[in-house]
Amino acid sequence: MNVKKKDYAAAIIFGMITAYIAYAIDKAELSNIISDYTGHVYVYLPMLLKKETFFQGLGAAPYFLWHLLTIIGYKIFGIPLEYAAGYSNALFALFSYLTVYFFVSSLYKRAGKEARSSVIAIISFGMCILQPIAADWSNVWILSVAPITPNPVTNPTYMATRGFAVLAFCLVIDIWGRQENDDYKGIFFKVENGLKRYYIALSIILLLSVLAKPTFVEMFIPAVGIVMLARWIKRAAKKDGSAKKYFKILVTTFLSAVPAIVVVFAQFLMYFIFGGSYGEGGSVVITPFLQVWRMFTDNAGISIIRALLFVMFVMLIRTVPFIDSNAGRLALVCFVVSFLQGAFLGESTKLGHGDFMWPLMSAMFLLFLAALKALIMHDEKEDRPFAGALTVTAWTIFALHVACGVMLIVKELFVLV
């Protein structure tokens, strides 16, 4: 590659645009009586700001990183609450954009390809706003933030987890690479110098992610566990003694997830047992298959195809690199785990909120990252007919997702207000 050091202007401009969009969406959504922003800004934040209602507020939103940043802006810097919320949003969006930029630039670097930072910036910006393929002319293709999207931009706490999710994904890919092969050189981090610091980093990142919103780790930790257990079982079946060594690795990796798991359980206690979930008797329930999905879509299959068209196409043109990579496998298992959570779990008093759909959205985003990795790092075989055309088609589909994201933002900012 590489990114030319003097060529960061585009990266900075797109970062600013991403942050501004997040800020503006906050402002637009606050004019909507029934929106996630209204709930967080006008219900939870006032509760958290008063001594008498602090614990009630904490019970209702035990994931408070976004709220904490907003309260700091409000209390310390004297910024009005609505604006402080907008700035928190912008900061988390910028963080998210930078992590995706880091992800994409690391891929180009590892692939040894030339890439201008403007190209990386456009891809990263696209990743931060892309939406399912949609059109306004049919109610089912309607351009709105449905729960089946990789980018639910109208939920502040979900968007706050995004940057941590990308970093955790990068860390696990490199940690797994090094665990499998001592000669592995990290794509994103220098894991060849040892894993200790990266286990600690993973632990901190997962913890911060839980504090922003627990939905990412609800899906991510089980998925990592499933893949590693499968690998351990495979080694045990070989009976070559490698299983014992791998079990130690598995336990070490699990230990780095323990702080996050402890906090998730504490949040569950607050939310469900101590009555944080609004509505009396709120609890997790097992629902009939796809009951919650059907509240949001008439056709779960088409909704998945719309949301993941780019990923599906890349899976067809880069099948082996996608499935054989740690990134692809992890993202696929994340998707299956979160699909099952969304298909069978709900909150008894508010099924219509689709709160167990959030992990699925994180998994969809990871699938996009895995697809980008397969597309950027692996080229089409030159002897293939129409070599290059399939890659161009894949990028065109990506652009279509981004265009739908742009249209949605225009609608949010100029129609909603």
């Binding site: 109610n139 089912v140 088409i302 082996v320």
Partner: protein, 196 residues
Amino acid sequence: MNKKTVCYAVVAILLIAFCVIPFHSSNCILRLHYSDIDETEPFVLFYATNEDNELGGDKTIEAFVNPELHVIEFVIPDELHNDITMLRLDFPPTDQTIAFDSAFVIAASVTRKTYLAERFFAPECIMGTNGIDAIQSPQSEVATYIVTSGGDPYIVLSDEIVKVINRSFSSYFVTKLILSLFIGSVIFLYDRGKRS
């Protein structure tokens, strides 16, 4: 048969089973597009079924005007798949003129049938009316104007429209087929890629 052939056969059987084993039907949506309307009270779709062939009682579906999208949307539940024998569209009981543009029958995220309002409200598509003072489709316009009075205005829809709606409930076969073809293709391409 070698091991690989058996694996392919098992995958093929599973995917075919996924396609053909019946899942619940989708809902069916009757959506009316309007260009001009005053009323915000709900429109009501009365239906009769094979078991109870009388219109009335609690066999109703309400729909409110959506001013953002300019639509009125009746969601007909999947329990009524192939069970509807008659449909009656009740208008809000006020004097007003409504301009309808088109009507759509949608199921499983797919538009099954599109009507221009002129066709949907054509005399042969209407079995009876009450409290409707006029149905006009000017030649120079797409819209069809329906003038209602304050009594109990309604239109009984024709058997043809009932038939279209009964037929339109989806069993998701095409969606399942697309997903199965995708999964099958990925498995095949992965296997071929590994070999080469």
